[in-house]
Amino acid sequence: MEYVNPEGLRLDGRRFSEMRQIVAEIGVVSKADGSALFEMGNTKVIAAVYGPREIQNKSQQKIDRALVLCEYSMAHFSTGDRRRQKNDRRSTELSLVIRQTMEACILTELMPHSQIDIFLQVLQADGGTRSACINAATLALADAGIPMRDLAVSCSAGYLNSTPLLDLNYVEDSAGGADVTVGILPKLDKVTLLQMDAKLPMETFETVFALASEGCKAIAERIREVLLENTKQLEYRRGAA
């Protein structure tokens, strides 16, 4: 199966280092403290943040920092075939992974005795769902005004037909090649998430990792633009601009 044709074009016409189209929107769930819609190609994710608010379960309370809870759920219609169990292992694992990534970048020490809920709802899944979720969560947290060290951004990259490929979609992901998901804090230049499946030789891994980090930096730029645009809108509405 040829995933990269001789001209260097992938199945959907992209080049090896080209990301899918990104659409980012803030404030989609009016009731939540902060919310965002993030799309990477056909992968669509909504993130809603409720918090900081009073802790619901006193036994889980932390005295010196905020408690961060995360729940990842996929809609029944999100994948091609309509199967979706609510608490399956993949959802639990992703909830944990995303929670740990976001917890590392939220300044939890500023909000002791409180709880921050991050809810992620996948509307369409076409590969790269965990990256889209992390990016959406970052936007939603910024919309909620929760203090963060940096914007956590994530992107995936793979290796097929001897070419490193940026931002895999579902077809490329299920091809059996390696899939490296990287989450970084761009300004601090720190890695908060690194996951890989299948196997890669060491030099190839470094190339793929570098490609994914480049993708992350591009996403960070985009997220910053969206947040700036949103702030300008708010200023305009307040009559300050």
Binding site: A32, N42, A75
Partner: protein, 343 residues
Amino acid sequence: MVGLSVGEQHFLKGGIAQDLRADGRKRLTYRPIYVETGVIPQANGSARVKIGGTDVIASVKAEIGRPSSLQPDKGKVAVFIDCSPTAEPTFGGRGGEELSSELALALQKCLLGGKSGAGAGIDLSSLLIKEGRVCWDLYIDGLVISSDGNLLDALSAAIKAALTNTAIPKVQVSAEMADDEQPEIDISDEEYQQFDTSSVPVIITLTKVGAHYIVDATAEEESQMSSAVSISVNRVGHICGLTKRGGSGLDPSVILDMISVAKHLSESLMNKLDSEISAAEACEDEDLLKCKRAGTLLTRLISFLYSIVSGSLFKVKKHNKLHEDCDILGGEMRIEVMRSAKI
């Protein structure tokens, strides 16, 4: 949701008694309704409905199945609702299950009629392919993204829009097989049959607060309700289903009055919905045309190659194939399509 203070409760109830609700509406006025169709490209039909702060998505997926032995001449329809925790933190984990099953049951009853299949809003025999052997199974999935009251009305409107948007591929049954063998079926990629949704009912929920009832209650108003009656009415004016919620008892004459109010409102709601749905469908078709016109030979070649590859891997709905092809161009094209599709 944060509770309301005594002062706020008085304000809400007093306003409703004076026919001036908290957001300025009259008792029997709906909030603005926005409909967007074709939001889930991989489903056979989908729609997103926003009524004020309530935001729901409905999708319809058709799969080949076997008719039940009790009704071998009909297809099957199942309704599932999922309340996303993004709407309400309490829906996280298993918290939303009770509400989800309550909503799903109410919608199933109003759409599919009784156990014998009589009085169904959807013509189930149109889903049949071969009697007793092959039929279409329709899975209607609803997702509540944001909840600000009146979920049942929004979901029924979304399901009606999604069914209008649904295109089921035409099927040819090839070769006559022996009774116990599965017949070979050929699913067409080109021809689709649209659904006839003129008899699909809509649900109108009337919420009783104090001595008056209001339509399209917000979450705050619902918290003050004594009881609510959800009535499903079809185009002809017939009642297709009735549910009463809430602990307080209602005088039978009040219920009859509510039913007549609902019937009266259903006409305007149906007309509004139909016009919104056709506007949304026209919007979607326009976007596809825009893509077609601006496409170059290279794009057509790339999309041709893509369709060959993807056609063999998973079903590509023809209706939205061009929409997907637009992604190949990336850049302005996709943004243009997105902007014009947003309502």
